[in-house]
């Protein structure tokens, strides 16, 4: 299973790596979009899957990153602006993390959502007051350059989650997800760990936002803070399941493909079908596609045991 998985992942990485040399702009843009969702979902999992603190406001990091790159456009080189977008997002997470991570469960969900909306409307108001409601970006880099920047971010986010999931840090995060009081009683520094996970999960989305901003020749603040981005990331992570990097890959591929097909062939039924798929998954396969694989494997194992002579 894990060898098969490694082979599949390598094949996917290779296919996405050669895509810009073999396909037209439309397909490259589609691939870019897939990579963006993958990078966002993997990053989200570093916080939310590992610690159980479900963030419904991850778009805030994406939006801040995009905004930073746009306001520094043609003043800062991109090689500086994009990493700065990640740093600003991480700093923001570090700043708000301590108070926000004091609350768990639904309170955390609502708080992150509200925080993202707060930043969104604060920036919209600031833009309106300073008289720049929207911007036009001239001279953005070529699509292929943007594509490979995003490719690097998607690979980076996948590697980050893989490393976290295997590390001692990851074991600490899982234990605090299961029971925070017990975790600190066995020596896990829960406050610092939660904050570190929050900061780690914010940096790449900040850079993703910064890179995606380059695709918008016409930039409106409101759009890069769209809550649907947060919701879609959560849907992809839930459909994928598990707490390693496998889930986000499977979930992103599945939901992205599904929405591409539906947009193309049944635009009116899009939301209906998507909603149904989500409900079915939550009811039938709460641990997502990864969970389905594991159940099947467990069933085979038990079947083999049952066939053995006693």
């Amino acid at each position: 299973m894990s060898r098969l998985w490694a082979a599949a992942l390598a094949a996917l990485a290779l296919a996405l790596g050669v895509l810009p040399f073999a396909a037209n702009d439309y397909l490259v843009a589609t691939g870019l979009s897939l990579l963006m969702w993958l990078a966002l979902t993997q990053s989200w999992c570093v916080l939310s899957k590992m610690t159980g603190y479900v963030s419904l406001g991850h778009v805030v990091f994406y939006g801040m990153g995009a905004y930073l790159v746009v306001v520094t456009w043609q003043r800062w080189p991109l090689a500086l602006a994009v990493p700065a977008a990640g740093i600003v997002a991480a700093l923001f997470a570090a700043l708000v993390g301590l108070p926000v991570l004091r609350v768990r469960g639904p309170y955390f969900v609502i708080l992150t959502f509200g925080l993202a909306e707060l930043v969104r409307y604060a920036l919209v108001a600031y833009e309106a007051a300073s008289g720049t409601a929207s911007r036009i970006l001239f001279g953005a880099p070529d699509l292929v350059v943007i594509y490979f920047a995003m490719y690097a971010l998607a690979v980076g986010a996948t590697v980050l989650l893989a490393l976290v999931a295997r590390s001692r840090f990851g074991h600490g995060l899982r234990s605090l997800r299961e029971n925070e009081e017990a975790a600190e009683t066995v020596g896990v520094p829960v406050v610092g760990y939660k904050l570190a996970a929050f900061v780690l999960s914010a940096a790449i989305p900040g850079m993703v936002g910064g890179v995606m901003a380059l695709r918008s020749t016409y930039f409106v603040v409101d759009q890069v803070f769209d809550p649907m981005i947060s919701v879609t990331v959560i849907a992809m992570a839930l459909l994928g399941g598990g707490d390693g990097p496998r889930g986000p890959v499977l979930g992103t591929l599945f939901l992205f493909t599904l929405s591409q097909l539906l947009w193309a062939h049944a635009p009116l039924a899009y939301m209906l079908i998507l909603g149904t798929v989500l409900v079915v998954f939550v009811l039938v396969a709460p641990n997502g596609i990864v969970g389905l694989f594991e159940t099947a494997r467990e069933r085979r194992r038990l079947g083999a045991l049952a066939r053995e002579p006693v």
């Binding site: 299961e178 017990a182 066995v186 896990v188």
Partner: protein, 242 residues
């Protein structure tokens, strides 16, 4: 007497207007087993919370191995070498039994940063507690007796020298109590543990402890060997109204 491993001096804890614990002192020497006795609401679990760092004392101080630990966070107290169990069990339910111990071994006083070393350590402890067969099962699937054993196993897996056992025999059948006592007895000698034990099962306390401290309405009313406690007039009055 040499330096005590644990020295609690005049600790008190108020929750708003309610005094849960007042001016309680006790010393535990290395290798000793000390029982904490008292009715419901006497402040036993509060005392554990203060020692383990889950609660911050309103007054008084606590030293462990000669250094002050008053007000330290629970994770730091654990890393210094104090483990505790919870009366209402708090396993990591979705993790396997072995993974429960792995985390404790990696983060506690044992500080076995390598997963394989932590698992070897954990398996040895599971073996001593009779949980080796269920090492790969998720903690949520254990029976109450199993979960109580897991609490003990996880506290020991932190590498603690001092373990606070909070009613690890409550709710068990007589047979299970006897088995647990036997296990704890073996464990304290094999791992050279110092134990502080809260228990309602009297027989367990009397047989198992070197000394007993009795709390009543948040105050220490008696302390001594089990035999002394058994004939202490104040204890008898509180327990039997004689």
């Amino acid at each position: 007497m040499t330096l005590p491993l644990l020295a609690v001096r005049g600790v008190g804890k108020r929750f708003g207007g309610l005094s849960a614990l007042a001016d309680v002192s006790l010393k535990v020497a290395e290798g000793e087993t000390v029982g904490i006795m008292g009715a419901n609401g006497a402040g036993k679990t509060t005392l554990f919370g203060l020692i383990a760092g889950n609660l911050r004392p309103t007054t008084g101080s606590i030293d462990y191995a000669g250094r002050p630990i008053t007000g330290l966070s629970p994770d730091r107290v654990c890393r210094l070498g104090i483990g505790r169990t919870f009366q209402i069990v708090k396993p990591f339910p979705a993790l396997t039994v072995l993974e429960n111990l792995r985390t404790a071994a990696m983060f506690g006083h044992a500080a076995l940063r390598d997963v394989r070393a932590a698992d070897r350590h954990g398996l040895a402890i599971l073996d001593e507690l009779g949980l080796a067969d269920v090492a790969d099962r998720s903690a949520a699937t254990l029976t109450l007796s199993g979960q109580k054993r897991l609490e003990v196993a996880r506290a020991v897996a932190t590498g603690a020298r001092l373990v606070l056992l909070d009613e690890v025999m409550a709710g068990l059948t007589a047979t299970e109590v006897a088995a647990m006592l036997e296990t704890l007895d073996r464990l304290r000698s094999s791992r050279r543990l110092t134990l502080l034990v809260i228990e309602h099962v009297m027989r367990a306390l009397m047989e198992f402890c070197d000394r007993i401290v009795v709390l009543h309405h948040g105050e220490r009313i008696a302390a001594g060997t089990p035999a002394e406690i058994g004939r202490d007039p104040r204890v008898l009055e509180v327990y039997f109204g004689a």
